[in-house]
C-alpha cells in the first residue's frame, strides 16, 4: 500500500507534518470503528482493518526513518538491515567512542555534564545524517537511493544510542 497516496500527500521525504496530521484525523473521523457500532459484523471488521491501516500508515509517515524506508520500498529498494556489514571505519570508530562515553556516565562525578555532551554529539551526527538522507532521497535516482539505504542503517544506530541515553538519564533521576 502506498501511504503517501492514502493521505494524498506528495511522495517525498520532506513532508508537512501538520498537513499529514490533519489528513489523518479526517480519515479517522470517517473510518474509526466507533462509526460502525450499529453496522453488520462484516462491516465492523472491515472498519477495524481500515482504521488499523490508516493508523499504521500515519505511524510510518510520521517518523523520518520509517518514512524514508517506505519511500525506498516504493522505489523497489530494500534496506536489508542484517545482511550488510559496515565498511565505513570512521563511522564504526565514532560509534565505539560514543558507547564508551555512555558507559562512563553512571560512574562519573558529574554525570549530567557527560549526558549533555553525549546528547550534543548524537544530535549533531543525527541531524547531519538526516540532512544527507533528505538530499539523497530527493535525487530520486537508484544510485542515491542505495546511498540513502546506507544512511538509514547508520541513523538507526544513532536513534538507538539516543534511546539508551534517555534510559540512563531516567535511571539517574529515579
Amino acid at each position: 500500500m502506498n501511504y503517501f497516496q492514502l493521505f494524498q500527500v506528495p511522495a517525498q521525504f520532506d513532508l508537512d507534518l501538520t498537513e499529514l496530521g490533519t489528513r489523518y484525523l479526517e480519515l479517522q473521523r470517517n473510518f474509526h470503528p466507533d462509526n460502525f457500532a450499529a453496522a453488520s459484523e462484516r462491516d465492523r471488521l472491515l472498519a477495524v482493518q481500515q482504521a488499523a491501516n490508516i493508523n499504521d500508515a500515519y505511524h510510518s509517515l510520521k517518523q523520518p526513518l520509517l518514512r524514508a524506508e517506505h519511500l525506498l520500498a516504493l522505489r523497489g529498494v530494500k534496506i536489508s538491515h542484517e545482511q550488510r556489514s559496515f565498511t565505513d571505519t570512521c563511522f564504526l570508530m565514532q560509534q565505539m567512542e560514543l558507547r564508551e562515553l555512555l558507559g562512563d556516565i553512571p560512574h562519573s562525578s558529574d554525570p549530567y555534564a557527560l549526558i549533555d555532551e553525549a546528547e550534543q554529539q548524537i544530535q549533531q551526527q543525527k541531524n547531519s545524517l538526516l540532512h544527507q538522507l533528505a538530499k539523497a532521497l530527493d535525487a530520486n535516482l537508484h544510485e542515491q537511493d542505495l546511498q540513502a539505504a546506507d544512511i538509514i542503517r547508520k541513523l538507526k544506530f544513532f536513534f538507538k544510542l539516543q534511546h539508551e541515553l534517555e534510559l540512563i538519564e531516567q535511571q539517574l533521576q529515579d
Partner: protein
Amino acid sequence: MALLQIAEPGQSAAPHQHKLAAGIDLGTTNSLVATVRSGQASTLKNAAGDDMVPSVVLYQADKVVVGKAAVAAAIADPQNSIFSVKRLMGRGYAETVAQAQQLPYLFVDQQGLVAIETAQGVKNPVEVSAEILATLADTASQTLGGELTGVVITVPAYFDDAQRQATKDAAKLAGLNVLRLLNEPTAAALAYGLDSGQEGVVAVYDLGGGTFDISILRLKRGVFEVLATGGDSALGGDDFDHAIVQWLQQQSGEAELAHQRLRQYLQLARQIKEQLSAHDLYAFELPTANGSLALSLTREQFDSLIQPLVRKTIRACKQTLRDAGLTTAEVAKVVMVGGSTRVPLVRTAVGEFFATEPLTSIDPDKVVAVGAAIQANVLVGNKSDADTLLLDVIPLSLGLETMGGLVEKIIPRNTIIPVARAQEFTTFKDGQTAMSLHVLQGERELVDHCRSLAKFNLTDIPPMAAGGAHIRVTFQVDADGLLSVTAQEKSSGVTASIQVKPSYGLSDDQVATMIQSSMQYAKQDMQQRLLREQQVEASRVWEAVSAAIAADAHLLGAAELLEIEQALSTLKIVSQGNDTAAIKAAIDKTNHITDEFAARRMDNSIRQALQGHKVDEV
C-alpha cells in the same frame, strides 16, 4: 457497508426512533449505570433510590442478591458475599491465591482460572460480574421503559487483554449488546465535556477501589487523543483499607483474623478512611477477642499508612508523562476520577506533582458512568451530529515468545488502536503442517515476567520443504483493546486455522456453555435468543446493503447488482421465519456476494473523504 452511515450518520432505517442505550461503570467497589435523556447525561437510580450499587454479589442457596442488601449480609456470611470481583477478572488461580490470602473466599481452580465456591456452587468472576451487569441493565430498562439496544462498559485503561475479554464475556452472559469497551479515563474526559472548546493536554488520575490509571490525553476540536497511559491494575482504595486493617490488627493483638472478624475490620477501615477524608481525627470502638478497645486514628497517622501506596501512583504518573514525551508544565489540567481521590493526601500529592489544582467539579464516583452514557448515546446512533473522535492506545506491549524464553515485541505499548501488525514465520521441518505461538503482554524481556495471554496453534499449513512455507501471522487489536490473530500461508494463500487457548480466559465454547447452563436461560429462551440475534444481524445487513446500493450502485455491473438484489430479497424472506441456521446462511451468502462491493466502496470513500478536504481548503 455502513458507509452511508459514515456520510450521514442520522440516516438509518428509522431515523426518528430514539434507541435506548446506557453507559455502565463496572467498578471494583461500586457500579453505576447512566443514560442520556433530553440531551443530558445522568446516572439512574434503582427502586431503592440509589444510583451507586455496591459491586457485591451474595449467593444464597435459593437466590442471588446484588448490591446494598448483599453488603448487609456480608458480615454474617462472608464466604458467599463476593466483594471486589473486578480484581479477579482475567486472573489465574495460583496468582490469586498467592496474593489474596486476606480474602475470606474458598478459591477453586477452574482449569487454571480462579473461581469461588459458593452456596450456589462454583462461580467464576465472569459469572459474578454478569450478575452485577444484569442488575444495572435492569435498572436502566425499567427506568427507560424498554429493552436496551446496547451498552458501553468502562474498563481501566490499564486492563490487559484477558481482563477486557472477561468483562466482555460477562456482558454477553448478562445478555447485553456491548457497543464498546471504553477506557475509564477517556470516559471521564468525555464527561467533563472537555471537548467543548477546550484544547490542550489533560491528565486523568483515576484511583478507584481496586485499580489505578493515569492517562495523558491531548484534546483538540473534538478529538480525544490518548498520548500515553499507565497505572497498576491491582492498586486502589481497597489497599488503603487493607493498610488500615493491618494497623487495626496490630492494635487488637490478634495474630490471625477469622473471616467474620476480617470482614468487620474491613468495613470499619472503610468507615475510618471516609471519616478521615473529612476530619482530622476519628475515634471508634475496635471489637476484639476480649470485648472491645476504644481507639482513635489521626489524619497524619492515616497519611503515613497510605503514603507508600500514593507514592507508587505518583511514580506511575512520572513514567506515563515520560512515555508521552511531556513535562508536568505542559499539562494544562488534571481530572480526578474514582472515590479514592477524595482522600486528602491523594489530592495534595497529585496537585503537588502536576503543580496545578486538580479538577473535581463532577462527582468522581459518577463521572465515568456519565462519560460512558454520552458515548453509548453516540454509538447507538441517537446523536447524528456527534463530532467526537476517541483515539485510544494499547496500554501494554504485545509480544511473542522466542527462543530461550525471551519476548519479542510486536506492538509496543501506547500504539494507537485499532492496530494490525504482521509477522512472518517459516517451518523448520519438511512437511511441517502445524506450529504454535505464545502471545504475551507486558514490558519485560522474559516470558516469565510478562503476562501470558494465549497460545495459538496453527494447523492446516500446506506441507512443504523446511523453510518453504511462509506463514504471515497478523495480530490485530480492535478499538476495545482486544486481540485477534489470523494466519495465512503466503505462497499458497491457504488460511491456516487457529485454535486459541487463552491463558487466563474462557474459550468461546466455554462462554456459550455458561450461557446455556445459566439459570436465566432455559433451553427455549436460549434458542429464542439465538434466533433474535440472527434476526437483528440480518436486518443490519439488509439495511446496510440496501443503503449501499442506493448510494453507490454505479460501482456495480448489471449482473453483480442483480445477484445482490436477489440475495437481499432471499435474506428478507428467510429472516422473517424462525429457522436460525437458515438466517445465518442467508447472512453469510449476502456478505460473501457483497465483499467485493464493500471493498470498492471503502476505497471510493477514502478518496472522497480527502477530496472533500481539498475543496474545503481552497
